[in-house]
Structures are given as structure tokens and as C-alpha cells.
């Protein structure tokens, strides 16, 4: 028995030390752990905003006033005024995808990605052949800018807390400053520790 004792101890050590489990789950599964903002909140926000923005009259009105032309949208800034770090890109990308997929709204690139494209175009002026070189001054100007804000209210007492998030998105006419669409998503959570 004695020679097997170290082996047995080693086996016990091995079996107790490797207890981490990783399980793959569906991306639409709701898993709430801490009560903070999570992927489910982002997904619900995206779903609500996509259904709102694509079903509102601003789209038809734009087409009517612009001889059937689809509106061109650029994504602006999202202000996070909540008490947590919330990355808006997660649900903004869903909106962008809905625009492009539907074919009813055109999307132009903005921000750092647009800067990168312009730099590449500038590079083409020196390095690309004349037939493939892209010209300056032919970018599509946006008709509308999509902007947003994230707000939160937290009420806590002892081990209980209620967290309220409100995500507001607005679409503004670039020429007239007219707000043509406002969409929001409200989320309320009750957390008991």
C-alpha cells in the first residue's frame, strides 16, 4: 500500500486542482451574474432600436421629399452618462447592419475609419496606377447624423438595488438640424445581494 500512497495523493491533487469548466452557450442566452450592464442588455437595446428606426415615417418622408433617394446616415457620438462603462458600439453596429442589409438606408463611414480610408486614398495618388487611383471630392455627404446618450439611475439600500438604464438615440437632419427620429430603450433591474 505504501508505494501507492504518493501516487494516490498526486491523483487527488490533480483531480481537485483542475476544476475550471468552460461551457459554450448560445449568444442569445441570458446570463445575469452581477446585475451590471451585460450582453443581453446590449442585444435587447439593439433589437428595439432597429425595429423602431426602420419602422418610423422619417424614411418615407425623406424619400418623398428627395425624389425617391434613400437617406444617407453617418454615426456620430454616443455619450455615456451612466455609472458604468457601456460600450455603445455593440448596439450601434447592429443598427448599421440593419441599414446596410435592408438597402433602404445608406451608410457613410465616419471617425477614425474614415480617416484611414482618406489616408489610403492619399497613398493611392502616389502609388496606384492612374486607371485604379480613386479621386478626391467624391464622397457621399450624409443627410442625417445618428447620435445618442446613455443614462442611468441607481437606488441602493443595504443589499438591494434597483438600476435603471435609458438609452436614447436621435437622428438629426444635417442641413436643418431637425430631429426626425428619436428612439429609446429602457431597462430596469432589481438586484439582491
Amino acid at each position: 500500500m505504501k508505494p501507492f500512497l504518493p501516487l494516490l495523493l498526486f491523483a487527488i491533487l490533480l483531480s481537485t486542482s483542475c476544476n475550471r469548466q468552460v461551457q459554450r452557450i448560445e449568444t442569445d442566452t441570458t446570463v445575469d451574474l452581477s446585475g451590471r450592464w451585460n450582453d443581453t442588455d446590449a442585444r435587447l437595446t439593439a433589437a428595439e432600436l432597429v425595429s423602431e428606426i426602420m419602422g418610423q415615417p422619417w424614411l418615407e418622408r425623406h424619400k418623398r421629399n428627395n425624389s425617391g433617394e434613400e437617406p444617407v446616415v453617418i454615426v456620430g457620438m454616443v455619450e455615456n452618462k451612466s455609472h458604468e462603462h457601456i460600450e455603445a458600439e455593440v448596439f450601434i453596429k447592429e443598427l448599421e447592419k440593419a441599414f446596410v442589409k435592408s438597402g433602404r438606408v445608406r451608410l457613410v463611414q465616419g471617425g477614425a475609419k474614415r480617416e484611414q480610408i482618406r489616408r489610403e486614398r492619399a497613398d493611392q495618388q502616389n502609388n496606384a496606377s492612374q486607371s485604379t487611383m480613386k479621386s478626391w471630392g467624391l464622397e457621399v455627404g450624409a443627410d442625417y447624423m445618428l447620435q445618442g446618450s446613455i443614462n442611468s439611475i441607481m437606488d441602493a439600500y443595504k443589499r438591494k438595488k434597483v438600476i435603471y438604464y435609458q438609452i436614447d438615440m436621435t437622428l438629426t437632419n444635417m442641413e436643418t438640424n431637425e430631429v426626425v427620429w428619436i428612439g429609446d430603450k429602457k431597462i430596469k433591474k432589481f438586484v439582491k445581494n
Binding site: 456620430g76 457620438m77 455609472h83 462603462h85 458600439e89 471617425g111 480617416e115 446613455i150 439600500y157
Partner: protein, 101 residues
Amino acid sequence: MKKQLLALSFALVSGLTLTAQSADQNPRAQLAYEAYQTENPTDHANTMGVTMDQTYEAYDPILIKEARRQERRDFRRQLRLERARRPQFIAPRRPWGWYGW
């Protein structure tokens, strides 16, 4: 002749519409445009398509309690280190101070 008249009236109407549009524009529009020309384009690009964090610290009793606990732990650790570094170090005791050890 009829066609020419039609074309002339169309040109007249279009011309009038264009004049009406430009007449409605603020005469100081160029000034407004120039005011924004001084801005660095990269600064503007950095604000597009991004989330700007202006977060605030919410009152959460559990987190506050945990922060205080951590502060106490850090203090005791510093005290232990100081004592190890200087064997002659005598920590003040009651009533001048008691550090919970």
C-alpha cells in the same frame, strides 16, 4: 413655338425657385462656415462613432463597504511592512491610536 414657350416657362419657374432658396439662406452663412474651419479635422474625427465616457460614481453601500475593507487591509499591510523594515518602530497605541492588531 409651343415647346419653346414651355421650356422658357420651366426655366423661369426653376430660376425663381433657386432664387427663393438662396434668398432664404442666412446672408452670414459664409461667416458661420469659416468659424468651423479653424477646427482640427482629426479632433472632429475622434468624436465620431465613439462612446464618450462621462460616467459618475453611484452610491452603492456594498461597494463602499468593500472599499473601506480594502483600505483597512492596505493600511495593515503597510504597517506590517514598516514594522519589518524598522524593528525599533513602535506603533502608537491607545489613546493615541490603535491600529486593530
